[in-house]
């Protein structure tokens, strides 16, 4: 029988999809055709497979070869990960390998012209898509492949070696000896931040409740310095989060840490020239995940928020609400995770000073500057804090401020408290959960009513303030939920703090009311 079907998988977005590579060799003019919507890299595998077979002294059938990439849905298939599957299929057709091989193994690797097996992008999700076979991968990505594998993973070095292993004449390359790598703690620490009490508090609240945070301040005030220190106070990822994050990073071909799996929350800081597609994901065939997906379960830091293209910023609005990004193209649509903590920094106005009386920008210039970030985006920041340059005495002070470790402890405690209480972080509390888990005292409700009536808060802002107030109350340890769930009210003080940490970014223009 001149037919074989070998299992492999392709990548779409951050998800692997099992593909049956069907190979038929028959009469006709010698030729090689790949059908089933292959992309360019996939089509080129013809040349790679032929060269690899010949380099390994394996025969190439001089007949008409047709390869079909069969999946349950009609989608373009991309990548070079199907090379080995095609090669094995050809060997099965020529009866160099037995037919049962196809039933027991799946192959995910690219072939070099000399027959070496090379790693491919997105091995984690690719392997995860195979559920009932032993998966053969290149040696370099063996560790990565095991992260999400549901069954055995083996690796071979060359095509010749692979053939020998499959027919039992050689043994699979043994797994490299694991050296335990200690993840070095981040070298940047909160204790380097002098002064800036309010900004530090805001950072702590943001980390504890996963609230989005915007720093507004003059150049040199330490906005970026503060933002970078959030990594040090966020707790390590849970197992499920770690796998989800690793899958996205693998799919985007980002080198994984030495441990193989990402255990610390990612911190992505794309430059402000980042394009829309780079930010939310997309692109040709494989739909590469964007920065927002790479920041999943971590932090997306947008420095100089005002310099980003407005379309890029507005594209963040839907993922910020839903925690996922849904991309649709003519040929495919994908859903990728995008549950991140948005951290941003901006100057208040073109001259950068912003301080009333010092700023030299006139209303027109300010208006034009502020048009760059839309109101709806600003409304999604739970915390908006004005950062000022630290005082000289504080800059030169010898006493270090509180260290990241101490802050991280509180953050962890609040996060655990929130999970235990409501099953989600404070920023994820829905309005009815808010009523249940963050009831307001009379005075707190009056304060919020005052601001709602004056138009300072939107409906969304109202809920966001309540969520932040919940986190502030948790951080201040007013409530020991375990001992007394009834005294769990949000106080006026917490609401006032939440309001003070959510200032209007738009400077008052002469047309505004006082």
């Amino acid at each position: 029988m001149a037919f074989a079907s070998v299992r492999s998988s392709t990548l779409l977005g951050v998800q692997g999809k099992a593909v049956d590579v069907e190979i038929h060799v028959g009469m006709g003019l010698p030729g090689f055709t790949i059908v089933g919507q292959p992309d360019e890299a996939c089509r080129e595998s013809r040349d790679r497979v032929r060269a690899a077979l010949l380099s390994c002294d394996l025969p190439w059938p001089n007949r008409r070869i047709t390869v079909n990439l069969a999946t349950s849905v009609h989608e373009r298939k991309g990548g070079a990960g199907l090379d080995v599957a095609i090669a094995v299929g050809l060997l099965i057709v020529q009866e160099i390998l037995p037919h049962e091989i196809a039933e027991r193994y799946a192959f995910i690797a690219e072939l070099g012209l000399d027959g070496t097996l090379r790693p491919v992008a997105g091995v984690v999700p690719l392997v995860a898509a195979i559920d009932d076979r032993i998966v053969v991968v290149a040696q370099d990505c063996e560790r990565e492949a095991r992260i999400a594998a549901r069954n055995e993973v083996v690796c071979a070095q060359t095509l010749a070696h692979l053939v020998q292993c499959l027919i039992g004449e050689s043994v699979w390359t043994p797994a490299p000896i694991r050296t335990v790598v200690n993840v070095a703690p981040p070298s940047i620490d909160m204790k380097d931040v002098r002064g800036q009490t309010a900004a530090r508090h805001a950072l702590e609240i943001a980390a504890a409740g996963a609230h989005h945070l915007l720093f507004v301040g003059p150049p040199g005030a330490g906005k970026s310095m503060l933002a970078q220190r959030i990594s040090g106070i966020l707790p390590a990822l849970t197992d499920a989060e770690a796998v989800a994050t690793t899958i996205v990073h693998s799919a985007a071909q980002i080198p994984l840490p030495a441990t193989g799996i990402i255990t610390l929350p990612p911190f992505r800081a794309p430059h402000h020239s980042t394009s829309l597609v780079a930010m939310v994901g997309g692109g040709a065939v494989t739909m590469r995940p964007g920065e927002i997906s790479l920041a999943t379960n971590g932090v997306l830091f947008l420095d100089e928020l005002g310099e980003f293209a407005p379309t890029v910023l507005d594209a963040l609005r839907q993922p910020l609400e839903d925690g996922v990004v849904r991309l649709a193209r003519a040929k495919s649509s994908v859903t990728m995770p995008a549950k991140f903590l948005l951290l941003a920094a901006t100057n208040p106005c073109p001259c950068g000073e912003g301080m009333p009386g010092v700023c030299v920008c006139d209303d027109g210039a300010k208006k034009r500057y502020l048009r760059r970030f839309s109101g709806p985006l600003l409304d999604r920041f739970d915390l908006r804090v004005a950062v000022s340059r630290p005082h000289v005495d504080e800059l030169l002070a010898d006493t270090p401020a509180e260290s990241s470790a101490a802050v991280a402890l509180r953050v962890l405690r609040v996060r655990e408290m929130a999970m235990q209480r409501s099953g989600c972080l404070n920023s994820d509390l829905s309005p009815d959960l808010l009523d249940e888990f963050a009831p307001l005292t009379t005075s707190a409700a009056a304060l919020l009513r005052y601001h709602l009536e004056r138009g300072r808060l939107s409906g969304r802002g109202y809920h966001r303030i309540r969520r932040v107030a919940r986190t502030i109350a948790d951080l201040h340890g007013v409530v020991d939920y375990a001992s007394d769930p009834s005294c769990d009210h949000i106080d006026e003080a917490h609401v006032a703090t939440a309001l003070a940490l959510r200032v209007g970014v738009h400077p008052q223009l002469s047309g505004d009311r006082l």
């Binding site: 912003g354 301080m355 009386g357 004005a386 000022s388 005082h391 003080a493 400077p507 047309g511 006082l514």
Partner: protein, 377 residues
Amino acid sequence: MNQESLLAAALSAVPRLGTRRLAAMLAVQQPSKAMEMLGREAPSVQDIEAMRQKLDDGEMSVTYIGANDYPALLVDDIARPSVLFYRGDLDVLQQRRVGIVGTRSATAAGRYMASHLAHDLAGQGVAIVSGLARGIDAWGHKGVLLALDRENKDVSARDSHCGQPIAVVASGLDVTYPKENADLWKFVSESGLLVSESPPGTPPEAFRFPLRNRILAALCEVLVVIESHATGGSMITVEEAQRRDISVMAVPGSPRSLSSAGTNLLLQQGCAPVVDATDVLVALGLDNRRNHPQVFDSRRTPSAQDQLLLSHMRGEAVTLDQLLMRTSADLVQTALALGRLESEGWVVNNAGWWEVLGRGCLQGYGFIDGNYRQVEH
């Protein structure tokens, strides 16, 4: 409108006929004679008809040097405008007049000062002269608006004893600039006097603003500068006022605030300081000591603890960070106090910076139990 006014208006729109030359011509003869003198340069019949149409459409009136209604204040001015376009009532110029000018990029405290000063002065029957620019100018007239509203909910503006708004603008009266002041523009022309020397349709070109300032200065008895950078339009108005021996007063500000650099400079040079309306009224020779006390400040007196916080915020805008640094107080307590002060109208948050809206309380002083005395530290 009489024919002579119309001809004067048409003459003012003749290109290459500057206001100085036109003023010299109109000083000695009627506009119709001046037309004859100009010969070929004179506006055509079509031009005159177009001008009539524009004036009718824009509901503008015209006065010129030599006309009976030309403001007496300007007749002897060193750079008198030859023709004035106006909406409203020239009799407003009979009131006592105080100019309120300042920077376009004002602090919240500056805007607050402008509107309160204008409000209080208007309440004493003083007309407020300003330029309807962004920032201080606009807020001055907003204060007048408030005073008129309070004074007479049902009496029309013309019949009240309130001071009325006077605005001198640079563009043509039918070209509202800046756009956001359109409401004020309308308010001034309906309840006071809106003046320009530019013919209808003139765009707000930059060179027209300094020229406008000379008329503004000439119409004031006292010119008050609320906030000003060391250079800028307000300082030009000040120079024009000084050339005309009009007294200039200034509101003191923090030496660190650039928006007060100009006013502080004026104070250094010997201008009288203004901290409230009484200072201006005294300069005008109006004694208001026996008048009923001001009731505009309806803010509830803050607690002693909040007073202390206020005293740390005086002088210049501060962020929450700086405030926590100065007071070494707890974030939550400070936020609570700021919330109280904000809802009572003592402080305002201006894009992250907190500003005190005070009546010029000195450092360390404040209202305790309704009396103005020193705050204990």
